[in-house]
Symmetry: C2
Subunit: 363 residues, 2 copies
Amino acid sequence: MTEEDHEPAAGTHAGQVNMADVARRAGVSIATVSRALRGLPGVSPRTRSRVLSTVEELDYVVSPAASSLRGATRRVAVVLPRLDSWFASTMLATIESTLRQADLDVLVYQVGTEEKRTHFFRDLPTRRKVDAVVLVTLPIGGEEEARLDLMGVQVVIAGTRLRDFPSVSVDDVAIGYGAVRHLVDLGHRRIGMIRTFDTDGAQWASELNRLTGYLNAVAAHDLPDDPALVATVPYGIDAGAEGMRQLLALPEPPTAVFCYSDDIAVAAMTALSQRGLRVPEDISVIGVDGHALGELFRLTTIDQHVTDQARTASTMVLDLLAGHSLADSRVTLPTHLVERGSTGPPAPSRTREQRAGRTRSAQ
Amino acid sequence: MTEEDHEPAAGTHAGQVNMADVARRAGVSIATVSRALRGLPGVSPRTRSRVLSTVEELDYVVSPAASSLRGATRRVAVVLPRLDSWFASTMLATIESTLRQADLDVLVYQVGTEEKRTHFFRDLPTRRKVDAVVLVTLPIGGEEEARLDLMGVQVVIAGTRLRDFPSVSVDDVAIGYGAVRHLVDLGHRRIGMIRTFDTDGAQWASELNRLTGYLNAVAAHDLPDDPALVATVPYGIDAGAEGMRQLLALPEPPTAVFCYSDDIAVAAMTALSQRGLRVPEDISVIGVDGHALGELFRLTTIDQHVTDQARTASTMVLDLLAGHSLADSRVTLPTHLVERGSTGPPAPSRTREQRAGRTRSAQ
């Protein structure tokens, strides 16, 4: 990889001076130049001052700030792991509508695999296609993170957080905790969770954080801490059904299950219904999302207000392109418990039967 | 509206000659110039020859053909009514993946309302943002249709047909007919349909065609032709449930229901389940799509192979941008009945009860 690969498209501006020239002259890294110019933390006042005077000295036209201010491309890239999920398509639909009102065009990139992510982060800087990038729940590796500083475009993170980039997300630990707390309030003690993992090998921060919330709540309420109560299944349309089958196969199944998402919860309820089990009489189910299907299935959920997250991310993009600084603008939106029919108190009779069953098998 | 509004961005090319100049000199409309240059039917050989010689005379650089060949923007617009449906997001996901492999970027436009459609068709030509446009199941009015000729870009239609533009779609009349035929083969006679309509007032060709297929099959098999058996509900997450409630409220409900889409069918089955009715023992349900959720809900459906449609549309775009002519390339892909658990023979006992009920009420 040559040094040229690193350079944002600043070289296309008048003067032929690029960010690498500024870095060389100021005796700092390109990343430091980028951070200093964007007003981000992690650069000392002295270094920042040296970078700025070098910029002036070399008559360097700052990119992207300068070019963004004049609306260089009027295009914004929305980058997400996949489009075929309710979360992703809702996020994209709302971002597109909002940015469209500001007369911005939206480019879409699905970068589900590591190869595609690498490709995207490698190619974007050299092409100068967009003024801003919105990264939606994207798992980012170290090298990719470094590239973000060099992309020469504004960056907004949606659905998760990344370093000090402007971001909008929800508190996934609180989501996991709140879901379990709701089930505990109803009287449940034996509470399962259905987790899922990305089949392309990426780690989802939301997934790990919701698990943390679940485990924190289990510990805080002194619930049975049985690893078998956490079913982990590959992401897919059938994930919830498979997870529920695993939990039902336990010697002592849970009386309530917290599902990673509403998709998972709906599939889990389908598996219950196909076994002739009733929700919530036999088993309670709670999801996360606020999925449009939730109301249809009377699903209790933690609503993470995806359209609000998308609107906030869009507003951040518009602010950045208008030249406003959004340093340290990491917004955490509130989430809400939406109680519908899929959660209720554990059936006393069932609990007795289970106790009896356990006693018998323990004899 | 001035004449300049009509002009594709040809004027940005060397020579300052644009399509309007060619039209004026040749004594034909701009639309005729556009059609002649794209080799489309509806232009007489004599007119076509005059247009071509005028082009040569004026040294007009043909746009988009010439600019497309050199990959002017490397961008393709995917235009659809909405993103938040399984059909739309699957279509977009596949088109994006396919075009991305050819190093093309995808811009996305949701033009659900008539206002947004008008805006899109008015603005696109003057901006020269893309090399090609894929219109996905878009209801097109007369003025918009005329504008398509003036857009100065390649046009591909997906999920429906429009005039002689290259298109990929399925035979929606055959889909409606085939669904009813399947139910008739199982022994059903009293067959309902749940239709839906766009709340933004647009007419969906697929919707009208599937209804036509249903009505043709009803006539061909001499089935009860009761208008009340067709429930028409506004599009939305609850549409299928609402439609099913209407059908169940009939003095003599159907024993089987053909639903416009899998979304509708799943919601309809939810309504049945909440009434304590079993599928297919009490009532059979068939959808259309091949929705990912279908397998989970054991839904019998007519699979319209959306990813195949999307791949074909993408290939058409690549062919057009490579300079190949696709005149009269209107592809109709096959569809398939996927039999799962949601359809079965009508329950004899139930049919007897209904007959008894009908006899009683007729007395």
